[in-house]
């Protein structure tokens, strides 16, 4: 089979094999379960790094095609549905991000209890969906994997969550499904206008090439798809699943959700909504720019007064993910590159945050910052990790957030109209607000006197927790220190889009 000679398909096959392996483990055999899960994650990381290498090699060898590693396999001929694989720079880095977060997530849920086997089963099913989404360029396949990634979330939160988990799981699933409903409509609409000559197609590249969606249809389909993905990208005012969902989700699920799943939103907004409908994107950008601009400031302000660690982080995610969508809507290479960097940065940093919060919560059994204090003396490793995550979040040079945010701000500022300028300046203000809430938490949680004497008996991170967080910390630092490496991978991929958008003006 031709398709099995394409490395991309293995990004789906490996999680599926891991699933199968997990299914064969007995419920009690925690060691076997861990071994299988870690093996799967390690293989994925190795493959992701190899994929980056392949990509750089291809580009270095002068391959300027939009997507590399293309393979098409027909699934359902009547609707021209294919398993169309292909990656460009953006997908490559997203796959890399996902692999790292899955890896860290496995270690973060090392002591998962109860039902570790079932947990990892759903966990890997979710991963399958995520990887599948990033490797495919066929609308149907993308949507299918998108759903595969969403559904396990319900069980993962509903079964292994904490707090009002039923409510949260239901809310999260329903809101995201609501988004999917919009999306589905949008995708069907796109499909039926995908070609002027009647050769309807699901392939994103072909649709973009045909550029046949009538303008009046674009005006309908663009908001549908953008909102559909925007819900997952926590766009104001569709973000409220995020605080509750994250608050109830178990550690690794929060990591994967904030770290990767929310990126599906940004990626989809770009890859489907903007890429395929440049006309409507240009026309309607102002609405979504306003919404995302509001997201940025609103999320940051909301985070300032929360007392639950996970809520703070969830609102902070609203702010940061708002920045992703904001930058994508700026329609120039710099800002869009910044958006992808921000996705990477936010993914790693929030995963780190959630991992640490999970670990702290696992020890103190509270997430209320008013009940904690002086954690730095008790658990220095986790404390340092939290500070690093916080600094990355508030955009300190040398950590990932800075490079991403600066690229976004400078890219956004390239526009000469007052509307975008004002929004950019408003977005820029968020760096101060971010500093306020991050330092507030760090000050209350880590510094100061120990609030609760029982906390003195708590232990610092165990080896698997150290491994999990260290992976993320190092990744954050690597992106922050060598942003140009990533920018070189990413930025070329935006040229077709920017060109298409430019042609509309």
């Amino acid at each position: 089979m031709e398709i099995f000679s394409n490395i991309l398909i293995y990004f789906v096959i490996v999680p599926v094999l891991t699933l199968a392996g997990l299914a064969l483990c007995s419920n009690k055999g925690i060691k076997a379960i861990r071994t299988v899960a870690v093996t799967g994650a390690t293989v994925l990381v190795a493959m992701a790094i190899y994929l980056v290498h392949l990509f750089l090699q291809a580009r270095g060898a002068g391959d300027t095609s939009e997507m590399i590693l293309r393979t098409d396999v027909i699934w359902f001929a009547p609707f021209n549905i294919k398993l169309a694989l292909g990656v460009d720079g953006i997908s490559v880095v997203m796959i890399l991000l996902s692999a790292f977060i899955v890896f860290a997530g496995v270690f973060a849920s090392w002591k998962m209890n109860p039902l570790p086997k079932q947990f990892f089963l759903w966990f890997y099913l979710l991963s399958t969906g995520v990887f599948g989404f990033f490797i495919s360029i066929d609308l149907f396949t993308m949507f299918m994997f998108y759903e595969v990634a969403l559904i396990p979330m319900y069980l993962l939160i509903g079964v292994w969550g904490s707090g009002s988990k039923n409510y949260s799981a239901m809310k999260l699933t329903l809101m995201l499904m609501g988004g999917s409903a919009f999306l589905m409509l949008g995708l069907i609409g796109i499909y039926f206008h995908s070609a002027a000559d009647g050769n309807l197609t699901m392939n994103v590249l072909e649709i973009a090439q045909n550029n046949a969606i009538p303008h009046e249809w674009q005006m309908w389909l663009f908001p549908l798809t953008f909102i559909g993905f925007g819900v997952l990208g926590a766009m104001f005012p569709f973000h409220t699943w995020s605080p509750d969902g994250h608050a109830s989700a178990p550690t690794a699920v929060s990591m994967l959700h904030a770290g990767v799943l929310m990126k599906l939103g940004g990626y989809g907004c770009f890859r489907i909504a903007i890429y395929l409908m440049p006309f409507a994107a240009n026309e309607l950008a102002w609405i979504f720019l306003t919404l995302t601009g509001v997201s940025i400031v609103y999320g940051a302000f909301s985070a300032c007064v929360q007392t639950d660690l996970k809520y703070i982080n969830a609102y902070s995610s609203v702010s940061h993910c708002g920045m992703v969508l904001f930058a994508i809507l700026m329609f120039n290479t710099t800002a869009m590159t910044g958006a992808v960097l921000q996705m990477l940065s936010h993914g790693l940093m929030t995963a780190l945050f959630f991992a640490l919060i999970g670990m702290i919560y696992g020890r103190t059994h509270t997430r209320d910052i008013r009940d904690m204090g002086g954690m730095m003396t008790i658990m220095p490793y986790l404390g340092v990790g939290y500070v690093v995550a916080g600094l990355a979040s508030l955009g300190l040079p040398g950590l990932s957030g800075f490079a991403a945010e600066m690229t976004i701000f400078f890219g956004s500022f390239e526009h000469n109209d007052m509307f975008r300028r004002v929004l950019t300046i408003a977005a820029t203000c968020s760096i101060v607000i971010t500093a306020v809430y991050i330092l507030r938490v760090v000050g209350k949680l880590l510094f100061g006197a120990v609030q609760n004497e029982h906390h003195r008996e708590l232990t610092d991170a165990s080896w698997e927790e150290r491994l999990s967080t260290a992976t993320l910390m190092i990744s954050v630092a690597v992106i922050g220190c060598f942003p140009n490496f990533f920018i070189n991978i990413i930025s070329d991929s935006f040229l077709p889009v920017v060109k298409a958008l430019g042609a509309m003006i």
Binding site: K171, L174, M175, F236, P237, H239, T240, D244, Y298, F301, S302, C304, V305, Q306, T333, T334, G374, M376, T377, L391, L394, G395, L396, P397, G398, F402, A403, M406, T407, F409, F410, G411, F413, E414, T424, I425, T428, C429, I431, V432, A435, V436, L439, R440, G443, L446, F447, G448, A449, P483, N484, I487, N488, S491
Partner: protein, 664 residues
Amino acid sequence: MPLSYTIAVVAIPLLMFFFLGLAGVKMDKKLTGVLGVIGMLITTILAYGVALTYFFGSDQGQMADGVRQAVVVCNPDWLSFTQTLVVRMGIMLDPIAAMMLIVISTVSLMVHLYSLGYMCDHHGHAEKGFQRYYAFLALFTFSMLGLVVATNLFQIFIFFEMVGLSSYLLIGFYYQSPAAVHASKKAFIVTRLADLFFLLGIMILSYYTGTFDFHQLVFGSNGANSLEVAQSAIATSGGATFLGCSVMAWALTFIFIGGAGKSAMYPLHIWLPDAMEGPTPVSALIHAATMVVAGVFLVARLFPLYVIEQGAMDIICVTGAFTAFYAAAIACVQSDIKRALAFSTISQIAFMMTSLAVSSADGGLIEIHGGQGLGFMASMFHLFTHAMFKALLFLCAGAIIHAVHSNENSQMHGLHKYMPITSFAFLIGCLAIAGIPPFAGFWSKDEILVACYEKGLGWGIWMSMVAGMTAFYMFRIYFLIFHWKKHEVHTEHAPSDQPWTMTLPLIILAAISIVAGFVPAHDMVTWDGKELHTQLNWTVAGTSVLIACIGIGLAYKMYFKENELPDKLQARFSGLWEAAYRRFYMDELYQFITHKVIFQSICKPIARFDRAVIDGFFNLLASVTGSAAYGIRRLQNGSIQSYVYVYLVGALALAVITMVCVLI
């Protein structure tokens, strides 16, 4: 020494940071401290070598036609925004960078050494977090060095953030004390707010000029190497205006605000006094000698642009002059020795700012004193001397605090007898800052005053008055600490001079403070690289010395021996005294804005809005759907008889309809 050694100057502290931060935990505490000092010593030697090579050598491209050139040692790309707009992480040596290398490495080395003693308790045991302390010091030194050798504006911004971070970490070193945590937070957020403006300024500037690079900003991208095209940056902006001012004026003002945040200019000064919660050597290094002058350095870096934008210059000038007076006034009444020194620092930095800003483009006095260049040179010179004597003063304060365990001067009094070396060192520092010849401060302050008088008589008089106040409050502190009345010994340990690790830096810095004024700064540190021919203006110098002596005399009268005069004056001007003591209520204002306005009136309502309205909407949607479903469920009541009934009625209705249709 090859100038490329500057890379090592910057890299060694960074490596020390990682080494001490990661491996230090497992090492003996004292060892980490010694390693830190050794690392810093190497850095200092290299920095001196590089700086002296730059100033006195001529074989590495630093001199051309008698003009000192900036030498770019390396300039690799770091972050490419677009093909042309690229952030580079480079190393550039020019007069002010070389001078700053000396300042930073000297003070940093002194502080490293000093901390070996200071960060120990009386039994010589290192404090908790000793390694962390040295790691942070190394991080700060790295950031500051990176800042001064920056080749472009964005790199400065990056290192502004980095020094902000190190400052945050070091102020909050005693992280279990709520005051320290609060102070560190405040310092970070206030400077961050300023950095926001800095960033906006950079954005505007880079948008119109398409570059971050200083060289290109000043000389234009065509590579022309003369100051006649210095206006290129302004020219490329095409005269764009915003709200009536040119965008360049906006950009430069914003960038100045960024610098004002770091340099604690009014009204962004509020973090600096609180920052004194950190260990005293840290205050000496960061909050007196190096980081706080980053703002001055920034303005000096962009001086060729500021000179052209007179509007921005005026703002700096007014801010500087006001801050100098404001801080001096507050310093006159503070009882906490470190706070008093902090306000003194603010005042002195404001001197430097003013000095930079009084330089004007229409240099009518060029033939006499070098016109616009004089203020620049004076400012940099003062930066240099101030760093030395203010570090000295802070380290002395540290020694005193270490000895008496209090910051309040009411706990000190009459220490001269017990700590003679410290006392003399402090006295030298005071004389230097007061501007008594031949101490360092005299030379630099004199140049500043000259530059001010050239700007206008009013400016000169104002700044002279502040200089007098400086002399007064410094000697007030000195007399209150070392004289006033006999020291009461509370504990069994009488205060005494501290161990050699702490005393040696005092002696060295005192020596520098005496001789630093003779450094030929006017030959070395000028804005255009040309030598500046100055001569002592005895009218100004004489006046300023006289004013300083009056200030000292007043202080002597009031504070040398215990007497009633200060209390009487305090009672007489109680309102003014109270206001100055409470720092003219700026902290309360900030407190009000942050807590009452931002937290209570913005954040809380937004959070509540989110829960109630947005979340409420979705919950409402869900509950409406739910109750509708519940309502419909009633129809499905499970009673087969009612189903049949409904079915029957339906079937009959259909039958009737059919029949009606058929029959009609």
